[in-house]
Amino acid sequence: MVETIIFVLMGLAAIAGAITVVMARNPVYSAIGLLGTLFAVAVLYVLQLAHFVAAVQVIVYAGAVLTLFLFVIMLIGVDKEENREENLRFQRPVVGVLAGVIVVMAAALTAFGDFDWVPASGAVIPEVTNGTIQAVAEPLFTDWVLAFEATALLLTIAAAGAIALAHYRRRESTDG
């Protein structure tokens, strides 16, 4: 019962944040909306016993990534109202209908779909160990060590490439 209440509250918070992201006129509000969604989703992770993922979500996503977003939004100017004139007049309603259809479809699938594959888990009392740092770290550094190293390289690429791309010299052609 408590779970259901937390789910409903946090689910609504996540949706409200998401709506802010896609609707807000000011980009800063959009970023703050995403922050709300990320926190609500982190609570949902805890509800699902994914404690470590919840911590990563808050530290990496809400902490680092969103700060980066806000930084760039400030840098390119918040006072610039987005140009909301449509080149294609009917685009927005069409997209709205499309997104609505996806929601309805997904809801129908999940609510009425044949979901018997689920091993009856409702009655099982979850083990507390699942989702702790130990439980996640052990496979991460054994089975997935290759993927782990690859993501390390991916972050290096992002850093080095981003500097190369965003860096401008005063006179493009003289030094290097």
């Binding site: 789910f7 689910g11 996540a14 949706i15 998401a18 709506i19 992201v21 896609v22 980009p27 959009s30 995403l34 969604t37 989703v41 949902l44 699902q48 994914a50 470590f52 993922v53 990563v56 979500q57 996503y61 990534v65 980066l68 977003f69 760039v72 939004i73 840098l75 390119i76 610039k80 987005e82 140009n83 909301r84 080149n87 685009q91 927005r92 997209v95 499309l98 997104a99 609505g100 996806i102 929601v103 997904a106 809801a107 999940t110 609510a111 689920v118 888990s121 409702g122 989702g131 996640v136 496979p139 997935w144 993501t151 991916l154 972050l155 992002a158 850093a159 490439g161 981003a162 791309l165």
Partner: protein, 101 residues
């Protein structure tokens, strides 16, 4: 546990992300919408994981990888935004129609 409800929530977030991606003009906002979609995927994976409870927490591992990759992609995307902003003082994709969108 509640699994179907989580899937519906994830579907809603994913759809909102798709909507934002198609409607918003500012590249930064498009990126934010993509983050919504990736979060929806993560909710899916964590919910499934709590149901399946595989031996080595595969769903949660997948989620951690997605978060990491998303961080890298944001870095790349914002570098592109800055590059464009320097060239044309705007981060609006509808300005980018040299070659037809």
């Amino acid at each position: 546990m509640l699994v179907n409800q989580f899937l519906i929530l994830a579907a809603a977030l994913f759809s909102l992300g798709v909507y934002g991606l198609l409607v918003r003009r500012n590249i930064v906002l498009i990126l934010l919408s993509v983050e919504l979609m990736l979060n929806a995927v993560n909710i899916n994976l964590v919910a499934f994981e709590s149901m399946i409870r595989s031996a080595d927490a595969t769903g949660q591992i997948f989620t951690i990888f997605i978060i990491t990759v998303a961080a890298a992609e944001v870095g790349i995307g914002l570098a592109i935004v800055l590059m464009i902003f320097r060239n044309r003082r705007s981060a609006d994709v509808s300005d980018l129609n040299l070659m037809r969108w």
